[in-house]
């Protein structure tokens, strides 16, 4: 198992992405009521910047902790949609284990399907409420991801149990659970 560097800060850190200023305010407050540490950005590219994906890695630079246990993102955003962001995260060798939740104001089954297939944990319909945020906990990645430096690429692996990975299909009181039950049964 890869070495995991735990920090003294045991608070979970959620990165929220939304181009709407009102929705950013709302999601920040909702997440803070659940005692999460919250960073809010207004675009996919700012999210990637924060996650270190866009920054150039200098040789010999110290590995630094990205410190994000979960990403929650709006789907409809200009330039980079939540789906595009999801793909970039899942396509990154050191970010792909960070769980991602998608939010959307539109209930489009093909959209939900695409996101779940691409690796999203859940799909929340907007407006997001406290009851949705209460469902985040099981999806949080337990250890924070390390951004690798140029020479040593190490990443912290979340120690997910097999049934945690299939949980989203069995959770009958959420939208994607219901969706999958309808498709599979």
């Amino acid at each position: 198992m890869a070495q995991v560097q735990t920090t003294m800060d045991t608070q979970f850190h959620v990165l929220a992405v939304d181009d709407s200023i009102i929705d950013r305010k709302l999601i920040e407050r909702l997440l803070k009521t659940s005692s999460y540490q919250v960073t809010v950005v207004d675009s996919g590219s700012k999210a990637l910047e924060f996650l270190g994906l866009l920054s150039e890695e200098k040789e010999g630079a110290e590995a630094r902790e990205v410190g994000v246990n979960l990403i929650i993102t709006d789907y409809s955003m200009p330039e980079m949609t939540g789906y595009d962001l999801l793909r970039k995260i899942k396509g990154s060798s050191y970010l792909k284990d960070i769980p991602v939740i998608i939010m959307s104001s539109e209930n489009v089954p093909s959209r939900i399907n695409r996101c779940l297939e691409e690796g999203a944990e859940e799909f929340f319909l907007k407006p997001v409420q406290q009851s949705d945020v209460n469902r985040i906990k099981p999806h949080l990645m337990r250890e924070k991801v390390m951004v690798p430096n140029g020479l040593k690429r190490r990443k912290a692996m979340a120690d997910l149990s097999p049934d945690q990975k299939t949980r989203k299909y069995n959770n009958s009181n959420n939208l994607c659970g219901i969706f999958w039950q309808n498709i599979c049964e």
């Binding site: 709407s20 200023i21 009102i22 929705d23 305010k25 709302l26 407050r29 909702l30 009521t33 409809s76 200009p78 104001s105 907007k126 407006p127 409420q129 406290q130």
Partner: protein, 152 residues
């Protein structure tokens, strides 16, 4: 004490009417639940952001519809934003007006869009007025030493 009770009663009646008349829906109640002693201005802050954002969107919509060649995709994008923000604060009638607006955008009907814009503006200014009154009542209750009644 009498003043506080009077103000609280006024507040309850006013906000109940807003729900009954469809100006506000359950989402506004959700916002109020997020306000507490550690975040006493949450509703005021969100509502203020909504006012700012909405007025910008209304101006953008008016400008977009006045173009010699109307870019309906752009118009739709603004309406989508407006629909989202009104939904997020629970401004139900504004949200519904935006939904009708979206249909005309999709059909690229300029006349319909112009009418929808007027309707959205009308609903927006109505709810803005109501919300300002509501927030003022809240301030009066707090200033008189009372607590804002819990609606749930």
């Amino acid at each position: 004490m009498e003043i506080v009770a009077k103000l609280q009663k006024q507040f309850m009646e006013f906000i109940s009417a807003l729900y009954r008349e469809g100006f506000l829906d359950d989402q506004f109640l959700q916002l109020q639940k997020l306000q507490d002693e550690s975040n006493p201005d949450f509703v005021f802050e969100v509502v203020s952001l909504f006012f700012e954002d909405s007025e910008k969107l209304i101006n953008n919509l008016a400008a977009a519809l006045q173009q010699p060649v109307v870019d309906f995709k752009q118009v739709d994008s603004h309406v989508h934003q407006f629909k989202g923000s009104s939904s997020s604060i629970g401004a139900q009638r504004v949200k519904n007006a935006c939904m009708a607006f979206k249909s005309f955008c999709e059909e690229k009907k300029i006349e319909g869009c112009m009418q929808c814009l007027q309707h959205v503006k009308h609903e927006y200014f109505l709810v803005k007025n109501k919300l300002e009154t509501l927030l003022r009542l809240e301030q009066q209750i707090l200033a008189a030493g009372g607590r804002i009644p819990d609606l749930s």
